[in-house]
Each structure stands twice: as structure tokens, then as C-alpha cells.
């Protein structure tokens, strides 16, 4: 009786270990697949989102770019959010520096 119970327990442990190994292998396969095949698709999504943010940033910062902004008062409170990553933005737009030295970088 004890021997049967031990065998059954052993079988369950083997099955559990096999399941755990399979799950680990599957997760690794998923990561590898995402890295090889889906990563660029993910980048394209993020690029699209970034382009939309850049458009919003340009609209919010219209006045600092020398363009009159009819809704400047309404967008004022957005400025802290859009200046947070302004350094990356001006480099992306092709300007290594923004304004006077020390203003941004």
C-alpha cells in the first residue's frame, strides 16, 4: 500500500516537474519569438504613439516656437508634462541643442 502511494507520489512529482519544465521552455520560446519576429512591430506601434505625442508637444509649445497659440491658456497646464522629455524631442527633431546653452542641455 505504501509502495503504491510512493509510486503515485513519485509519478505526480515527475509530472509536475515536466509541466514546470515545459512552462519554462514555452516562456523562453515566447520571449525569443517576440524578440525575433514581433519586436519591430512593437517598435512601430511605439513610434506611432511617439509621433502623436510629438504633434501634441509642438502644439503645446507653439508660443515658444514663435507661433501665436489661440488656446495657449488652456494648454498651459500641459507644459510640465511635455517638457519632461524635451531633450529627446529636440534631438529627434535634428537639433543637438535647444536654445541657449544650459537651458536644456
Amino acid at each position: 500500500m505504501n509502495a503504491d502511494a510512493a509510486r503515485s507520489r513519485s509519478r505526480k512529482q515527475v509530472a509536475a516537474r515536466a509541466r514546470a519544465s515545459f512552462t519554462r521552455a514555452w516562456r523562453k520560446a515566447e520571449q525569443a519569438f517576440d524578440a525575433v519576429f514581433a519586436a519591430r512591430w512593437g517598435s512601430a506601434l511605439r513610434r506611432d504613439a511617439r509621433d502623436q505625442s510629438d504633434t501634441l508637444r509642438a502644439l503645446v509649445l507653439l508660443e515658444s516656437l514663435g507661433v501665436d497659440n489661440p488656446v495657449g491658456y488652456e494648454t498651459l497646464e500641459l507644459i510640465p508634462y511635455v517638457v519632461a522629455d524635451i531633450h529627446d524631442w529636440h534631438r529627434r527633431m535634428g537639433h543637438e541643442e535647444l536654445g541657449e546653452p544650459g537651458v536644456c542641455c
Binding site: F37, W41, A44
Partner: protein, 588 residues
């Protein structure tokens, strides 16, 4: 000759090329510096500039450069026999494409990951950027025309392939949306999508889709109707954001391509089929000469300018270390060469694998230039099916499988090329100040598609013989421009540019010579279409070739003079982008 011997011998040469020649290039020509801070680190933004493991970058690079072109070119070129095509693929890959792809990657890494067009301006002159734009315009024009005919021809020859290909469109959109909304891993949905596509091959064989009723209603050829439908699809598909359809479909295609490569390689090894084609064919007297036309018939697979666009625009922004450029760039070229090798084996061994009289069956497929070029796609799909049968896949299913793979690739290339052509049209419109064209997406797409549609619909089966070779010339000119940029850069760094100059001179000479031969043929033809459309097109591309020669010669002379003067004055080597120690390197 057993196909497996050829396969193993060529793979061995590729391995030697990587082990020794790429090491020489890395050490003595490009002087790679593993401590150089790559653009992926310097400008890291998590989107474009991402330091990535070299194996992953290689996978991205290879699946970006691999497509339908290294399949179609060799499938036509074995008309002259398997040996000339194979030698050009092997020597071109090892000595030209390897140096070209690898070099474009290194120069781009040293110039902030910029694309080859901008590099041409930075390294050669601003005129070189205009030249680049013009070459690319004609390249994508011919890609669009030829690939539309490729897809239409495969649809006409394989009605069973229509359903699986059509199904790929909603499947790709669905998989993309599912992964995006559920934020789940892509593996399971993508594998299920692939299985659905292959299940639909079985369905497609029972429900073949043809356009014969529409064609007869309008008094047109089915091929013409398919070409119009393909362009109509492209018109709309190319206007969608890339992440909606193009990219999800692309990664389903990439799995198909890897599967097709595996089927061919394993099929060759298991089947032990023999190459039925003669090493060098005695072609009919009125055939085009293999020298120099072989070198433009096979562009992708031996050396392709398109690779420099991928190397410089995208891959360079992902390199973790500069020394990874050898692995990624050189092996990317080797991967493309392997694809061309598989096409050669499929069209010379696989296609007659089941034949009782393989020699004469092969001769019938390649009886003359027109038959060979028109039937190239059918030959390839039958060839893959021949190898697939070695693995137990029925011949008819294997043929549709190969057709679906080629159509999927050609459709993705078409979508990308139409977008590229639209950008160029808009850029030119912006330069000349024609704002309605520059700002209106519909108008710009329509203008971009107009010349490819005219070329694709030309009566007289031009696509696979003539247009394919014109496409090859523009592709080789793009490679020539990239090689000129690399040669000037190497010269300025006081390294030996001979290993870059040899493929550059060879490529430009062969392309110019082939253009002259074709120009004479078009201009003296009795068909007015050839005289008034193809001859001027050829003449324009020839002028671009001469422009490239002059531009490269002037830039190289100036670079050499600057280098001699610097040596005489004992000046130190200066970099455009000086290598800098990266303080964070140890922490990464």
C-alpha cells in the same frame, strides 16, 4: 551532380568566407573597435535606437533583406546553366555582398546610424544624395511593376493559392490587434495563424479562385485583371499605418520563409536528388549573352543595393557593439546567398525530381529565353514541391505552399516599395513647390503607382525578361553607390580600399555594359513600346550609371589626395565621429 554535394560545398565556402575573409575585413579594412559607443547606446530611445543582442539583430537583418528577389533572379539565370549562376552567387556573396553589407553597416554606425542616402551626402557630396534619390525612384518603380506581375502570374498559375493569400490579410490584422489589446506574447496566435493559412491551402485546392469570368466580361486577359486588382489592393494597403497590416503580415511571412528554407535544405539532404540542368547550357543563338547580363539578372542573392538601405537605415541603430557588425552584416549576405542557392537547386534539381526523363524535362522548361523567364516562378514553385515531396508532402500541396510563400513576400515588398515611392514623389513635389501633390496622400499614391502600372500592363511579356533585368541594374547601381561611399570612407581612414574598389568597378562596369546592350536592343526594335518607353527608361538609368562613375571617381580622387597630403604632413587620423570611451560599458 548530386544537389546535396553542391549545397554542402557552397555552405563550406560561405563558412570559410565568414571565418577568414570577414575577419580580414574587420581587422584590416574597417578596423572595428569593440569599445566604440554605437548609436544604439548614444541615442538609445527604446524605439529606433535599441542596443540588441547580436543574434537577434542578425535575425532582424536577415528577415528584412530576404524576400522574393533572390528567388526569382536565380530561377531565370539558370537558363545559362547552373554553374555560372552558382559561381556568381558564391563569389558575389563572399567577396562583394559580404564587404558591401558589412561596410554599409560600419559606416552607418560611425555616422549616427544614418541611411545610405544621407551618408552619400556626408561622405561624397550633396549631388550624390540627389543621385541616390533618383536611383531609388527607378528601383522602386521597377520593383512595383515586376512584383505586381509576379503576384498576378502566380495567382493565374495557382488558383488554389488565392484563398490562403487572401486569408492572410484579415488574419494578420486580427493577430496584430489581438496581441495589442490582450498584451500577450505573439507566439501562440502567430503559430495558430500560420496553421490556419496552411489549412486553407487544402481548402484552396477545393475552392480555387479565378478571375476568368471578370476577364471574359471585359474582354481582358486574367493576368491583366489580377495586375489591376493587385495594384488596387496596394493602393489601399500602402495607406494604412505599418503596424495595422504590413508588419503583422510580415512576421507571419517570415515564419513561412524560414519554413520554406528548411523544406528545401532538408528535402535536398533526404531526397539526394541530382541536378538535371547542364553546368553550362548551349543556348539558342538569339538568346541574350550571359556576360554581362548574368550579373544584373541575379542581383539579390549575389550583391544587392537594397541591403545597404536595411544595414544603414535600421540595423545600424540596433548594434550593441561595433564588432557585432561582422556577424550581422557579413552573415546577412551569406543568408541571402543561401536563399539564392536554394532557388538554384529548386530550379535545377527539385523541379525534375519526380521525372523519368529529368534532362529533357528541364530542357523543355528552359528551351529559350522567353520560355525560361516567363516560367521561372512556376519552375521554382514546382522545384520546392519536388523537395517537399521528399518529406511526404503531396506535389500539388507543395506547389501551392511555395506559391503562397513567394506571393506573400512579393506582396509585402510591393506594399513597402509603394510607400517608399510615395515618399519620394512627395519629396520631389516639395522640392519643386507643388504642394497639392506633396500634401495629398491619395494623389501622391496615385502618381507613384502610375508608371509601375503602365510598365506592368505593357503587352508582350516584358516583366520577367526585360523589366527584371532593368530592376537588376537599378539594384546594382544602389549597391555601387553604397560601395563608393564605403570606399571613400575607407580611403579617408587610410585603410586599403582595394577590396571595396574591385567589386565597385566590376559592378558598375557590368551594369553599364548590360544597359548599353539593352539600349541598342530596345532602340532598334520594331515594337514602338520598346523604342519609345523602354529605350528612354534604359537611357535614363544609363545616365545615372555614368553619373555614379563620375561622382565616385571625383570623391575617391579627393579622398586619396587628402590622405596623401595628411601623410606628408604627418597628421593623425581623424574620425568623422571620433571613437569615445563609454564610461557605462562595464555596467552593461
Amino acid at each position: 551532380m548530386p544537389a546535396v554535394i553542391v549545397l554542402l560545398a557552397v555552405l563550406a565556402v560561405f563558412a570559410l568566407g565568414y571565418r577568414y575573409y570577414s575577419a580580414y575585413l574587420a581587422r584590416s579594412v574597417y578596423a572595428l573597435d569593440p569599445s566604440y559607443v554605437t548609436p544604439a547606446h548614444r541615442y538609445s530611445d527604446g524605439i529606433d535606437f535599441v542596443p540588441t543582442n547580436k543574434h537577434i539583430v542578425f535575425a532582424h537583418h536577415f528577415i528584412s533583406v530576404a524576400g522574393a528577389a533572390p528567388i526569382v533572379g536565380p530561377a531565370i539565370a539558370v537558363f545559362w546553366g547552373w554553374l555560372p549562376a552558382l559561381l556568381w552567387v558564391v563569389l558575389g556573396t563572399v567577396f562583394a555582398a559580404g564587404a558591401h553589407d558589412f561596410g554599409a553597416l560600419v559606416v552607418s554606425v560611425r555616422h549616427k546610424g544614418r541611411s545610405v542616402g544621407t551618408l552619400a551626402k556626408d561622405v561624397i557630396s550633396s549631388r550624390a544624395r540627389t543621385l541616390f534619390l533618383l536611383i531609388i525612384y527607378f528601383l522602386v518603380t521597377l520593383v512595383n511593376a515586376v512584383f505586381a506581375v509576379v503576384i498576378a502570374t502566380l495567382f493565374v498559375n495557382n488558383p488554389a493559392a488565392v484563398l490562403p493569400v487572401l486569408l492572410t490579410i484579415p488574419l494578420a490584422i486580427g493577430v496584430g490587434q489581438y496581441i495589442y489589446r490582450k498584451r500577450t506574447a505573439a507566439l501562440l496566435p502567430s503559430v495558430i495563424a500560420l496553421l490556419v493559412v496552411y489549412a486553407s491551402i487544402w481548402l484552396g485546392r477545393h475552392v480555387p479562385v479565378t478571375v476568368d469570368p471578370i476577364a471574359s466580361a471585359f474582354g481582358l486577359e486574367p493576368l491583366t485583371v489580377w495586375i489591376v486588382l493587385v495594384f488596387a489592393y496596394t493602393f489601399f494597403a500602402s495607406r494604412l499605418p505599418v503596424w495595422v497590416l504590413l508588419q503583422p503580415r510580415d512576421y507571419i511571412n517570415q515564419q513561412q520563409m524560414l519554413l520554406a528554407l528548411a523544406v528545401i535544405v532538408v528535402g535536398v539532404v533526404i531526397g539526394m536528388n541530382t541536378i538535371a540542368a547542364p553546368a553550362v547550357t548551349e543556348v539558342p543563338a538569339d538568346s541574350p549573352p550571359w556576360f554581362p547580363l548574368l550579373f544584373i539578372t541575379i542581383a539579390c542573392g549575389a550583391i544587392s543595393g537594397f541591403h545597404s538601405l536595411v544595414s544603414s537605415g535600421t540595423t545600424a541603430k540596433q548594434l550593441d557593439k561595433e564588432s557585432d557588425a561582422r556577424y550581422v552584416g557579413y552573415l546577412g549576405a551569406v543568408g541571402e546567398g543561401t536563399l539564392a542557392l536554394c532557388s538554384i537547386l529548386a530550379c535545377t534539381a527539385g523541379v525534375v525530381a519526380l521525372s523519368a526523363t529529368p534532362g529533357s524535362d528541364w530542357q523543355a522548361r528552359y528551351a529559350d529565353w522567353q520560355t525560361a523567364s516567363d516560367g521561372a516562378l512556376d519552375t521554382f514553385t514546382r522545384g520546392v514541391a519536388g523537395f517537399a515531396e521528399n518529406l511526404g508532402v503531396p506535389l500539388a500541396t507543395g506547389t501551392v505552399f511555395a506559391a503562397v510563400v513567394v506571393i506573400s513576400f512579393a506582396a509585402t515588398s510591393l506594399d513597402t516599395a509603394v510607400r517608399l515611392q510615395r515618399y519620394i514623389v512627395q519629396e520631389i513635389a516639395e522640392i519643386v513647390g507643388f504642394r497639392p501633390l506633396a500634401r495629398n496622400l491619395t494623389l501622391a499614391t496615385a502618381v507613384a503607382l502610375s508608371l509601375p502600372i503602365v510598365l506592368a500592363l505593357l503587352p508582350g511579356n516584358f516583366a520577367f525578361g526585360t523589366l527584371w533585368q532593368l530592376f537588376g541594374t537599378t539594384n546594382q547601381l544602389t549597391a555601387g553607390l553604397a560601395l563608393a561611399v564605403i570606399a571613400v570612407w575607407v580611403t579617408k581612414r587610410r585603410r586599403n580600399p582595394v577590396v571595396i574598389l574591385v567589386p565597385l568597378v566590376f559592378l558598375v562596369a557590368m551594369t553599364s555594359w548590360a544597359l548599353v546592350i539593352q539600349l541598342v536592343e530596345f532602340a532598334t526594335h520594331e515594337d514602338p513600346l520598346q523604342v519609345f518607353l523602354l529605350a528612354p527608361l534604359d537611357a535614363i538609368i544609363f545616365v545615372l550609371a555614368i553619373w555614379l562613375i563620375v561622382e565616385a571617381a571625383v570623391a575617391l580622387r579627393a579622398a586619396w589626395a587628402g590622405r596623401t597630403s595628411a601623410v606628408e604632413h604627418g597628421e593623425e587620423l581623424t574620425e568623422v565621429e571620433a571613437p569615445a570611451a563609454d564610461p557605462d560599458r562595464d555596467e552593461r
